[in-house]
């Protein structure tokens, strides 16, 4: 049985996964993360189906969602999350390379809580991802049904 983590990272690029986890590790958040590599797997996890059937029934405190994903892209995943009553309130941060206005507008329209362009500069990247993790996973009070931090 897979345990529930506080952060769901949806990212297909292994390099990005590694850099992101590094950034989160810098802020001692790496053990809180579960990583899936495409949109379908993300939804399977969130809706507790497929490979994640029988998973503990609680939502992550944050979904970090890339837009360019195999099978279902980030926009499609976001729409599905918002349409499902069980996950409609889960905080979702789009973490992407795209600076395109269209992506930005569409992301917010679909109900993203934040839109972050991955900085090219490594130090900026570490900073940005780390702050995101800290804010959403530690500072922010997640909606009901999310896994809460044990020591709080």
């Amino acid at each position: 049985m897979t345990t529930t983590k506080r952060i769901l990272l949806v990212e297909d690029s292994p390099s990005d996964v590694e850099l992101t986890l590094e950034a989160l590790a810098t802020h001692q958040l790496v053990n809180e993360v579960v990583v899936v590599n495409d949109g379908v797997a993300a939804l399977d996890y969130l809706f507790r189906q497929g490979a994640f059937e029988g998973r503990e029934a609680s939502n992550p405190a944050l979904v970090m969602l890339d837009l360019k994903l195999p099978r279902l892209n980030g926009h499609e995943v976001l729409r599905a999350i918002r349409q499902n009553p069980a996950t409609a309130n889960v905080p979702v941060v789009i973490l992407t390379s795209s600076r395109e206005e269209a992506d930005l507008a569409q992301g917010y329209h679909e109900g993203a809580n934040a839109y972050v362009v991955k900085p090219v500069h490594f130090k900026d990247f570490i900073e940005a991802v780390g702050q995101l993790g800290v804010f959403w996973a530690l500072v922010n009070e997640p909606p009901a049904g999310s896994l809460r931090r044990m020591d709080s």
């Binding site: 690029s13 390099s15 990005d16 850099l19 590094e22 837009l67 360019k68 992407t96 390379s97 795209s98 600076r99 395109e100 206005e101 991955k118 900085p119 090219v120 500069h121 490594f122 130090k123 990247f125 570490i126």
Partner: protein, 708 residues
């Protein structure tokens, strides 16, 4: 009584006459009745004159008889005899029998016999026997019976006589009254009749005078006046009428006018006159009178039937007027006008025709029409217009003719095809206008046909060209849309996929640096630093290229843009030590976000290239407003550039300064140029090396009526 007698007069006289006759009749009847009454009275009187002597004579005979019987004196016998004789004489009168009750006469005879018997007995000296006979009493009884009967009748007759006397009196009174009335009425009648006769005589005199006056007037009128009987013989013609025809006072006869009418006019006039006479209605006509040795003259005749007092048709009357001068003038004018029209008709370059719409035929055509159709005039007039019309145009053409004949429209204009004699089709712009219509459904129209075959073929070519052009445009648009979509995908891919490896490059270089923190020497750090810088430069290049691409692709969202506010907003993005001088910039028509990008690039360029100046000063001003354009200038006091290379200034990746001196990707001004060009404007620059630079851009002014 003539027609001048008044109606009240007639009624009065009528009533008087009827009353007179009534009174006369009544007096005749009353007189006759009075006479009868008088007759009856006389009869009654006669009767009484018989009955009373009869009764008295019988009484005398009886008293004589009694005296004699008692005294035997001869004097009594004489009395007796005298009475007896009288009685017998009266009884012999037949009128007595009618005057008395029928039983009286037999009773009287019995009495007479009884008296004679007794007298005879006395004379025979048998007085006792005679007295005995008297004492029997029958004689007395008889006498009282006779007297009773006679008295009854006498009394009744006397009553009746009285009545009759009164009646006669009354009737005579009636007769007298009636006679008086008759006399009065006769007087009245006579008076009325006399006054009427006098009045009539006066009226007749007046009428005769008036008629003479009118006749004088009519005879001297300049208008011919005539009155004819049913057979055409003259009842009256005035002097003017006689003079127009040259007739004498005598009746010229019913057909005398015919030889005087112009031979061209005679059949028409005869026919219309005959028709009018047949139908007993008014007629009018105009014709020429030709008297031998005199020039012809136009006259107008108007006549109407005349009727007798009982409404019977008795002839015609009317007028004849000399209209020669007006008519000849009018004819001359018409001829001139027709010649005029004919000239226009024949000279016109458009095909002209008179068309019988109902028969679908031309009635006359001009030269141009013949040339248009390729037929001679004679041939053209023979042809059916439906046959000449292109089958595809017949419905349109027929509908127009039908609606015009039905009175829905009075003309139409449309384009149609006619077949020429050589079989080719020509396009014409056809107009027709209804000129006149007759009751039998005939309709004559003026038709104009202009050859538009050439125009039509040019039109067809144009349509073909247009459609080809549209086709090409559609194809190009499709190609362009495809290209745009590919570019979109390409940009997206660049934005996302190309940046990721750069980030990884920088990221892992960073991680490596962190990993080697303890052991790395300076050279290693330098190389790692170079790797990171290269990755970041490429990231900036990609960002600028994408921005440039976006400026090219993005749809313009135009409106009124307040440049004063826009430029002020950009100024605040820069450090404070720069001296800004911003003029009044006004508003232009454009896409606010793109213009912000352009001004930001120009201003940041100015900031960048003037940063080595001790007092950087940058101005943004509106230089000129002309022909719907605003020209703006961004000026700095920086290093400037060499005008030799100004052509390269706005190219992509073009730089006029080494990167080591001024960083940058060489795309900023290219973006400015792209934005300005997309707004239909121009961008140019002036500079002297070391003395700052002036960048100019022209933008469209606000459009007419654009929201303030």
């Amino acid at each position: 009584m003539d027609s001048s007698s008044s109606l009240p007069h007639r009624i009065g006289a009528g009533i008087a006459l009827v009353a007179l006759l009534g009174a006369a009749a009544f007096s005749v009847v009353a007189t006759r009745q009075a006479r009868q009454t008088i007759e009856l009275r006389r009869t009654l009187r006669d009767r009484l004159s018989l009955v009373l002597p009869f009764e008295s004579a019988l009484t005398q005979a009886e008293s004589g008889q009694r005296g004699y019987l008692l005294t035997a004196e001869p004097a009594y016998l004489d009395t007796y005899e005298h009475g007896r004789t009288q009685v017998q004489a009266l009884m012999a009168d037949p009128r007595l029998a009618q005057a008395v009750d029928p039983s009286v006469l037999p009773l009287a005879q019995v009495k007479l016999d009884e008296m004679a018997e007794t007298v005879a007995l006395r004379q025979a000296a048998r007085p006792e026997a005679a007295l005995a006979r008297v004492r029997e009493g029958s004689g007395l009884h008889l006498m009282s019976r006779i007297r009773e009967l006679c008295n009854d009748r006498v009394l009744a007759d006397q009553d009746r006589l009285d009545l009759l006397n009164r009646q006669v009196h009354t009737e005579l009174g009636h007769i007298a009254a009636c006679l008086l009335a008759t006399l009065g009425l006769a007087g009245l009648f006579l008076g009325t009749t006399l006054s009427e006769t006098w009045r009539r005589r006066k009226t007749q005199r007046t009428l005769r005078w008036q008629e003479a006056r009118y006749r004088t007037l009519v005879d001297h009128l300049p208008v011919g006046i005539f009155e004819l009987d049913q057979t055409g013989h003259t009842i009256y013609r005035n002097a003017a009428q006689r003079s127009l025809f040259g007739f004498s006072d005598a009746d010229p006869g019913p057909d005398a006018w015919r030889p005087l009418v112009h031979p061209e006019d005679l059949p028409r006039v005869s026919e219309s006159l005959a028709a009018a006479l047949r139908e007993v209605r008014a007629f009018h006509d105009e014709y020429r009178i030709c008297k031998s040795g005199e020039p012809e003259r136009w006259v107008r005749v108007e006549g109407r039937p005349s009727f007798g007092p009982d409404g019977e048709h008795i002839g015609y009357f009317g007028t004849l007027i000399d209209i020669h001068s007006e008519k000849t003038q009018m004819l001359a004018a018409r001829e001139a006008q027709e010649a005029h029209h004919r000239a226009f008709f024949e000279l016109a370059t458009a095909g002209l025709a008179l068309t019988d719409l109902a028969a679908r035929r031309f009635l006359s055509v001009n030269e141009a029409m013949c040339q248009l159709m390729g037929y001679s005039p004679e041939e053209l007039l023979e042809l059916d217009l439906v046959e000449l019309t292109h089958p595809d145009d017949r419905a349109r053409s027929e509908a127009a003719l039908r609606r015009c004949i039905d009175g829905e429209i009075i003309g139409d204009r449309y384009e149609k095809r006619y077949r020429r004699k050589d079989g080719s089709w020509i396009w014409v712009d056809l107009s027709f206008a209804l000129m006149r219509k007759d009751s039998e459904g005939g309709a004559i129209a003026a038709t104009i046909a202009v050859d538009i075959t050439e125009r039509k073929s040019i039109e067809a070519e144009m349509i073909a060209l247009n459609s080809e052009l549209e086709h090409r445009v559609a194809q190009r648009t499709r190609e362009l849309t495809d290209a745009n979509r590919e570019l979109e995908a390409f940009s997206y891919s660049v934005s996302h996929d190309l940046r990721a490896p750069l980030r990884h490059l920088d990221g892992f270089a960073g991680l490596l640096e962190r990993h080697l923190t303890q052991t790395a020497d300076e050279k290693t750090k330098h190389y790692l630093n170079r790797i990171g810088n290269a990755a970041r430069t490429m990231g900036a290049l990609i960002d600028d290229l994408l921005a440039f691409s976006r400026m090219s692709r993005q749809e313009l969202r135009t409106g009124a843009v307040d440049l004063d506010a826009l430029v002020k907003g950009i100024v605040e993005e820069f450090p404070d030590h720069i001296h800004w001088s911003i003029g009044s910039l006004g508003r232009v028509h454009g896409d606010a976000s793109m213009l912000r990008q352009a001004f930001r690039n120009l201003m940041s360029n100015a900031v960048k290239f003037s940063r080595e100046s001790s007092t950087p000063a940058i101005s943004v001003t509106l230089e000129e407003q002309r022909n719907g354009r605003h020209v703006y200038c961004v000026q700095d006091n920086g290093v400037g550039f060499d005008m030799t290379y100004r052509d390269k200034l706005f190219g992509v990746f073009q730089r006029l300064h080494p990167e080591s001196q001024f960083e940058g990707t060489g795309i900023g001004l290219a973006i400015v140029a792209r934005v300005v060009h997309r707004h239909g404007g121009d961008v140019w620059a002036e500079s002297t090396l070391g003395h700052g630079a002036r960048f100019y851009l022209s933008l469209p002014a606000l459009e007419q009526g654009e929201a303030a």
